[in-house]
């Protein structure tokens, strides 16, 4: 098996995802098979190959430092699950 249940749980922690026990087995098995499949890349010797992170030669475009109002703060907050005034609300983070 390419990946253990523990590794799946560790990865889930990083990805902020929960997996129920009943599901973990099947998921581990499927991930393992996908990782086994992509092993075929190791048939290729890529020691002297430059990576292509992007097909375009990207540069950072600059523009004049001018304020553009694309959306209002009201619009930015319109989809908030919970809000107060101009703020997004989350459960209390700081202990009493």
């Amino acid at each position: 098996m390419k990946i253990s249940k523990q590794e799946v749980l560790n990865t889930a922690e990083l990805a902020r995802l929960d997996f129920k026990d009943s599901h973990l087995e099947k998921f581990t098995e499927q991930l393992g098979r996908i990782l086994e499949y992509i092993e075929n890349l190791n048939e290729l010797n890529t020691d002297d190959i430059e990576p292509t992170f992007h097909v375009l030669e990207l540069s950072t475009p600059l523009r004049e430092d001018k304020v553009l109002q694309l959306i209002t703060s009201e619009e930015a907050l319109q989809n908030a699950p919970e809000k107060v005034d101009d703020f997004f609300v989350v459960p209390k983070v700081i202990e009493d």
Binding site: D18, I34, Y37, N40, L56, L58, A80
Partner: protein, 486 residues
């Protein structure tokens, strides 16, 4: 006039001549959607009221002599991945079930500005992750040629709606084949432009180095008409490229005599459907009969494309989808006592299986200790796949191959086997990895009367050549004129 067969070109000719009312055309499409979409499920949101009022405005403008071009008053669909101001954009996910966009995507604003009537938002695989439209939170889409078959994905709603005549055409997106594969399976034309040709602003992100928007249409010329409207540099997307946008409709009728057409032997894969192989070989003969020169070529790294893609795309997705945390927008779990719970539960309840699988795969491949083995390795193989194409362009002008190794498969056939599902994109993925344009056009039907697609690939920013070959081929058999009986 058969509404289900009408192309953009024909509709716009009639509208321009004031022989067809955009309002009546729009109402006719909405009626068809009401009749047939209960079964086909191609729309997540139908914008009946706003479509009719847009059509009324278009009609007034045209009657007043202000005709603004071939999309003016023409009803089209929009994959639910493009945001549209004041309209829901779900991306096929529970995560965005109640999200209403405060702005327009650039693709949306460009087609609005061209006067198009947007009929609604087409169903799709969740976050564009899927090859069958079965991962949608809003239920699977059916293939209009056979209701027991999938339409392909992820732009399955766009392809099925276009084939079934529930719109004249639709805009989709293609990250690993998501325009071309469903176009092939539903018997319509699908074009993925060169990476950078069309702005991705407001197109909900999946894998940003691969995603590209493009049209699904009833003819090659219609694809050119839409490409004219959506192409070009956009200040809101730094990866949109500032190159000249030609009039793609202008050289469609050009001669293809003497053009060099490459046939990559690796695209005729083992286990390929015989009907597909025969139809594609016949299409190659047809293209040769127009005076093009057929040259066998090799793209030796083709078999590594799926593995490369299933590292790059999930890595980028795991990063892009980190934004869904239940705080600023999107699904929030009703029972979280603390912030940690809020993140974990909102994401676990809001995302479906396939999306979670890809986030996990990407997170794993990018995690400490695995980066070189997976992510870096895949980016090096991307170089090799690009070089395959670069070498090919020294000998040929375009490449012709099947779009998919098989016709539409049964609903539920591959849902339990991710690798089997992933392999349905084996022939479309290399194009995205190399960033080149690709098109699928109908090239016949199987013994089961299911459509077969012919794929045409071109050099970066040379959509004109692939459109020209596709248009010349289309005129020989007119496969595109066949429509399913609903």
């Amino acid at each position: 006039m058969d509404i289900n067969k009408i192309t953009i070109k024909e509709a716009s000719r009639l509208i321009k001549n004031k022989e067809l009312s955009p309002v009546e055309l729009t109402k006719a499409f909405i009626e068809r959607i009401e009749t047939f979409d209960k079964n086909l499920n191609t729309y997540i949101t139908v914008l009946a009221d706003s479509a009719i009022s847009t059509a009324e405005n278009a009609e007034k403008e045209i009657m007043n002599g202000n005709y603004s071009g071939p999309l003016h008053g023409v009803p089209i669909g929009l994959k639910d991945i493009f945001v549209m101001k004041d309209v829901a954009a779900t991306c096929g996910s529970r995560m965005l079930e109640n999200f209403v966009s405060p702005y327009d995507a650039t693709v949306t604003s460009r087609i609005k500005k061209a006067g198009a009537v947007i009929l609604g938002k087409n169903n799709m695989d969740e976050f564009a992750m899927g090859s069958s439209n079965e991962t949608s939170f809003f239920g699977p889409v059916k293939n209009p040629w056979n209701m027991g078959k999938v339409p392909g994905g992820s732009s399955g709603g766009s392809a099925s709606a276009t084939a079934a005549g529930l719109c004249t055409a639709s805009l989709g997106t293609d990250t690993g084949g998501s325009i071309r594969q469903p176009a092939a399976l539903c018997g319509v034309t699908g074009l993925k432009p060169t990476y950078g040709r069309v702005s991705r602003y407001g197109m909900i992100a999946f894998a940003s180095s691969l995603d590209q928007a493009g049209p699904l249409t009833k003819s090659v010329e219609d694809a050119a008409i839409i490409l004219n409207v959506i192409s070009g540099k956009d200040d809101y997307d730094s990866t949109s490229v500032d190159v000249e946008v030609p009039d793609f409709t202008k050289n469609l009728n050009g001669d293809i005599k003497g053009m060099k057409i490459g046939i990559p032997k690796e695209y005729f894969v083992e286990g390929m459907d015989k009907d597909v192989e025969n139809a594609v070989n016949k299409a190659i003969k047809d293209i040769e009969s127009l005076g093009a020169e057929i040259i066998e070529i090799s793209l030796p790294h083709t078999k590594y494309a799926i593995s490369t893609y299933y590292i790059i795309a999930p890595c980028e997705a795991s990063s892009n989808l980190a934004r869904y945390d239940g705080v600023r927008y999107g699904y929030r779990t009703p029972d979280a006592d603390n912030l940690r719970d809020l993140f974990f539960k909102s994401r676990s309840e809001g995302f479906g299986e396939e999306v979670k699988r890809r986030i996990m795969l990407g997170t794993y491949a990018l995690s400490s200790g695995y980066y070189d083995a997976y992510y870096l390795k895949s980016q090096k193989v991307r170089t090799l796949i690009r070089e395959d194409f670069k070498n090919a362009w020294e000998a040929v002008d375009v490449i012709v191959a099947p779009t998919t190794p098989e016709t539409a498969f049964n609903i539920d056939e591959k849902t339990d086997d991710p690798i089997k599902m992933y392999l349905s994109d084996v022939l479309t993925i290399p194009c995205n990895i190399a960033g080149i344009p690709g098109l699928s056009t109908p090239c016949g039907f199987s013994s089961e009367n299911l459509p077969i697609g012919l794929q045409i690939l071109g050099k970066a920013f040379d959509e004109e050549s692939i459109l020209r070959v596709a248009h010349a081929y289309e005129k020989i058999n007119n496969w595109n004129l066949k429509t399913p009986d609903l």
